[in-house]
Subunit: 201 residues, 3 copies
């Protein structure tokens, strides 16, 4: 499953960059922004793992997540202004990231024999709660509670994945279609002017 | 133990309604208020289960909690104005709910062979920390830290339950008396004018 | 390892006092400040234990932590003004506390066969996240994100400990040197005028 692993690390990296940039905007120091980058990147998956009883939590046993976040941290500081220019690219990667996080979250939960609706919730938690923790720590009301595109896209992508998983014999195809649907939902949301809402926080 | 299970689901439902209504007041969107309803209803029990090492967390394996919260969500939106009219009834159910949550939290903790004082803490955590998470997520200082009636009633009800459990051979009777004492403490608090404090947040 | 256990309880006590005093300043009630004292004292270790899968969480099985926190609570209320006078002594104990918490956090994580960098992270989490939860609950941006001395001292002390552990055959000596280095880093930070930053929150 090498492409999945690669996209997972890429998503982790993008989430960490978003955390570090938020922290820099809030005038956090070097350690503070590193911590915010970390919790943004691994927060959602950590809550999922704790809730379903996966021990130790996933990223503890895989150095690559650690290095992905450290790399993101360096990128965010070294190319601060550039990163903001690449906002469009970031949005693309971020959307790929939440799509994959949702689906991986569902897959991991299904391997623990949980009910379908719980797996769906865990998918949304995996994709969204890193950002929730980030916002709580910088003392803001979490973004996803005010602007629903983000969580809604995950929710629909997750439902599509659960349906396709029943209907299609090809797991990779189900994954790609579901991730694509998350991207389409977010893209349409942006096209229809909801993007302004997303940018305001 | 069917009456306990029924009251547990009713308490979950009431807690979820309180979360959804808080979220609506904060102008959260549909997904945001659903999430707030969820964490308010299952937050306390989740923290307890994570701390005592009960895996997976209780509500993950029981669909009825899921449906109780979904039902609460629909009720809160469909009967928004009515719900506020039934504030008195809500207060009653809420008090029954925290009484039962405290006692069920203590019982579950005792089945894990924890010290008495830890079981008491877990009872209070079960009843109060859903509301704490709700308040943190909507960026307010948690209500129970400023107005002590809520947590205090749970604490005393829990102590009474622990004592009765030693003295009485009838578990159901101990439960009913302890839950009653939580209700009496809160009722007296309201009668003596402390209710204003509770309403201010 | 009796001196370690003693310092651990002393650190728990000091952390609890800092939590209770923060809560009193925020005009929290008796139960609210007790809860803040509790989570400040055991929050960091609790998050560490949950993440590495240590169940039940450490303090649940040791009454002495409970009594250390209750004692701290009484001290904080009975000697409120005195406690503020002994700020210097508190700073000393607090620094000893975070040094020890960092090192104990690393040790416990190493006994779970986690990667070196994960053990280091867990050390910092053990020492710092009690304060992070405290600040989130009183609705402040966590102190350690804005002033880096605190977390930085833990990070460096932790790195020194990991190095000495490889080089020296005497565990106690490694511990004392690392704890000493945390204290020196914080002391130098204060001497060089960074203390003002620490006091501002």
């Amino acid at each position: 499953m090498s492409w999945i692993y690669f996209v997972d690390l890429l998503g982790t990296c993008i989430f960490a960059i978003s955390g570090v940039i938020t922290a820099i905007h809030k005038k956090f120091d070097l350690i503070g922004s590193l911590i915010i980058g970390f919790v943004t990147a691994i927060g959602g998956g950590t809550i999922r793992d704790v809730l379903i009883g996966r021990h130790p939590v996933g990223w503890l046993n895989d150095r690559n997540y650690f290095f992905a976040i450290l790399g993101a941290y360096l990128i965010a500081y070294l190319f601060k202004s550039k990163v903001l220019q690449f906002r469009k690219g970031m949005f693309l990667f971020d959307t790929i990231g939440i799509g994959l996080f949702t689906i991986l979250g569902i897959d991991i939960s299904m391997s623990y024999n949980l009910n379908t609706e719980v797996c769906l919730i865990m998918g949304v938690v995996s994709a969204c709660f890193g950002g929730v923790i980030r916002d709580v720590l910088v003392n803001e009301i979490p973004l996803i509670f005010r602007k629903e595109i983000y969580a809604t896209a995950c929710l629909f992508g997750g439902i599509i994945y659960l349906l396709l998983n029943e209907l299609l014999p090809f797991k990779n195809l189900s994954m790609l279609i579901s991730m694509g649907s998350v991207m389409v939902i977010r893209y349409l949301a942006v096209k229809k002017g909801w993007s302004l809402n997303i940018e305001t926080s």
